[in-house]
Symmetry: C2
Subunit: 205 residues, 2 copies
């Protein structure tokens, strides 16, 4: 675990959301109510979450956007670049390499891996596709700290096992399947369907 002040599990996704809200805010100050509205939580929750980390806001003035952003990013460990590898050189892997949000926010893609011999050795958007067997030895050479799983459902657990064995401690999984990893490994699942399900609520019957 990092040496930063621990963030309680349920609070973490909200803090990540606040960082996003601050990034797109145009003015120098922001109220807890404005953060709350943009993040979809209530203002008391925002004040409680932020007070956990110190005294940021000023009554009547709100929070200094720049100062709060720096503080939250430091707490999240976002004050430095992180190297990312992607496993899966298919359509999703290709889409992720091209995703403009990564490089701009300090996530540098340093390697693409695939198990398919037909893909290995070819380039995907300029990146050489490396064989998955070489992942253990490449991981340290690439100084990769984050692993993204972008393979089909059936291959996801075996890729997760390979990443864990190679020493990866933070994994982002795009395959719509529950993965088993040791408690020492941080795993987040991106469930693309969940967003559609939430939207369905707003539809006429």
């Amino acid at each position: 675990m990092p040496k930063r002040k621990p963030i309680p599990d349920p609070t973490l996704p909200r803090i990540c959301m606040y960082v996003r809200v601050l990034e797109s805010h145009q003015e120098a100050n922001i109220s807890s109510a404005a953060i709350a509205e943009a993040a979809g939580v209530n203002a008391a929750q925002v004040r409680k979450d932020l007070s956990f980390f110190g005294q940021f806001g000023q009554p009547g003035v709100g929070y200094d956007v720049g100062e709060l952003q720096v503080a939250l990013k430091r707490m999240l460990g976002l004050d430095r670049e992180r190297n990312v590898i992607i496993v899966g050189a298919g359509a999703l892997g290709s889409a992720l390499i091209g995703y403009p949000g990564f490089e701009g926010r300090g996530f540098r893609i340093v390697g693409i891996f695939d198990s398919n011999p037909a893909k290995v050795g070819h380039r995907l958007r300029g990146y050489p596709v490396l064989p998955i067997d070489e992942l253990p030895e490449q991981l340290a050479a690439l100084s990769a700290q984050l692993g993204v799983i972008a393979v089909p459902q059936a291959a996801a657990q075996s890729v997760a096992d390979t990443l864990v064995e190679a020493g990866m401690t933070a994994i982002l999984n795009f395959a719509p399947v529950s993965l088993r990893v040791p408690d020492s490994v941080a795993l987040r699942n991106v469930d693309l369907t969940q967003h559609l399900e939430c939207l369905a609520y707003y539809l006429e019957d």
Copy 2:
């Protein structure tokens, strides 16, 4: 707005998460504590959220997984198929067509649109790519209720405008940019970087 019981804005994402938790639960009953742990919230919050919709749980037994799942899905409007169109026939659009989570959960992709003449008329994973100009007339023909924006940042607002003008009331946006839509349109943004940012917290300094 649908004729179902309104779900408060901050509650909605949690309800969507509970549906996911129930889908992957193997046993017939589940406790609020187990739902809470899997969803990353506290148990009191789960009980409060669910009690808003009626009496589901039994003290000492917990919730009936099947019954609760049916009830939550009906509330979210997930008890029927929904037709989805994707705008953007690039790598992300292609990845979304191939994403196994959609069809399996009642989201049927019925059309792919693109503005690039080089892509229009070709097939993407079996789907004909239609010209974006035809979107207004095709929308009704395709009975599409959900629109997914999978185009580059610079084109996203104009695609959103086209969707709104054509009468689409629910939009899922993958472009990392804030879109302006009327209050009558439900918009959700998928921010892929946010997940990496949350994971960064767990990394050693």
